[in-house]
Symmetry: C2
């Protein structure tokens, strides 16, 4: 038994969708979440900068005695999960592997698509991992850089978004994939338009649920499950009021009373 | 005479359009430019965070003995120009005032529109300044948060951009403005679509030229003009190769050989 909190981090508040699924799967676990809203988005940045920023977030949580780290950000998970593992004395769970395992189970045609930020797609993390697990699977990937700002602006029902989605997803559609990995925590906000553009026969695989399931298994195996009344703490690096509306849409209202701003020590 | 360089800074590389106009107006002046590409964009951030980041950029240049500071970023100029002036022993020129002076000269209907990032529009810097200069002028402003990512993605000719522009600019068009201030260094990249949406009778006022002219006047008045072979140095906080294409589109090829990455000391 270990009642220390689970540490969850993300470049911003998208990772709260993962935290939410962790609460559902593990209702007795406490959580400390940090989102780097003063420097979001990480997607367009270089590997070096993403790694530096991600280590700063991990250090913040490690200092607070978390029993494990959940990297609830596809860009960080795809770019530098190994670097986080190197500095972490506790187990680390990323979003890439659980989502891939789920997608492989679902796919029948062995043709899987991946969409994500420029950082995620450039890392080729999804291709490499999928092919190491099953070399028969063909992977097609495309960066969709405008999806994050569009989702943040709430244009999930705008005709412009449909046009952008058609452009971004055209090649993937032509390849005849039957499963599409939503390789960014913001993309579920555009679920409807992505599903409509791809056609209803394509399964959309997002990270939140498989990551929470993977974490549950890990805590069980390592005998790290908590047995206490859970506490939730949320930290952001820019003013909390700027993200409150979207953040509580992602996580629920319990977040509002527990959201604080901190200055992150730099490396 | 003073052959020390002019310090120019921006949240990213958009401010290079201002630097370019400075070179045209003042061909004997040396320039040190810094763009905070590891933390761009500033537009959606809080006043507190924008101010902290902006001071870090200003300090970087002040340590390099610049003879004046040019804040080539509308978000910083609108949000915290006074804070930069407080810490600077040398004169500071922002982009807001020169652009406003130009717009007031141009407008005949006394109805001026302003578009910018959320940070710029929330600051109300344009309204306040315009009305302090001429209280008869009516100012209408709208944030266009997707214009920066759209411009960076090069979708300046995309139908989706037209739809987004129509949405953002509808109210301004209905007000019958005759002059529209492009209150963000990225917006000139979307000049065509903005002009088409507003109608050709509306004058678009961007910051680059009026800011360079204002700087020229200031250096003349203070007897700070240089008389030497100019040197240009460019610094970014993320990997230079990621911005090279757009940056040299903004400034010209001389930039390529002189672009370096630095880590910015934090406050």
């Amino acid at each position: 038994m270990n009642n220390n909190p689970i540490g969850v981090f993300d470049s911003g508040i998208g990772g709260l969708t993962v935290a939410k699924e962790i609460v559902k799967a593990l209702p007795r676990e406490s959580i400390i979440y940090i989102g780097d809203t003063a420097r979001v988005p990480y997607g367009p940045r270089s590997k070096e900068v993403i790694t530096r920023f991600a280590k700063e977030l991990a250090n913040f949580l490690l200092k607070r005695q978390v029993k494990c780290l959940v990297v609830a950000c596809n860009t960080i998970s795809a770019t530098c999960l190994d670097e986080i593992e190197k500095i972490s004395p506790v187990p680390v769970v990323g979003v890439v592997e659980p989502t891939i395992e789920m997608a492989i189970q679902v796919s029948k045609s062995n043709k899987i698509g991946v969409i994500g930020t420029v950082g995620t797609i450039n890392s080729k993390a999804y291709e490499k991992k999928i092919q190491s697990l099953n070399s028969k699977i063909q992977v097609y990937s495309t960066a969709c850089p405008l999806f994050v700002p569009i989702a943040e602006e709430g244009l999930d029902d705008h005709q412009a978004t449909e046009l952008v989605a058609k452009d971004y997803l055209k090649d993937l559609k032509d390849k005849g994939i039957d499963t599409l990995i939503l390789g960014c925590t913001h993309y579920p906000l555009l679920y409807k338009i992505i599903q409509k553009t791809m056609g209803k026969e394509v399964v959309l695989a997002d990270s939140a649920k498989p990551t929470a399931e993977k974490l549950k298994k890990l805590l069980e195996e390592k005998n790290l499950l908590a047995d206490a009344k859970p506490k939730y703490e949320f930290y952001v690096t820019d003013a909390p009021e700027r993200v409150l509306v979207v953040a509580s849409r992602f996580f629920g209202k319990v977040l509002n009373a527990n959201l604080k701003q901190i200055a992150l020590p730099t490396l």
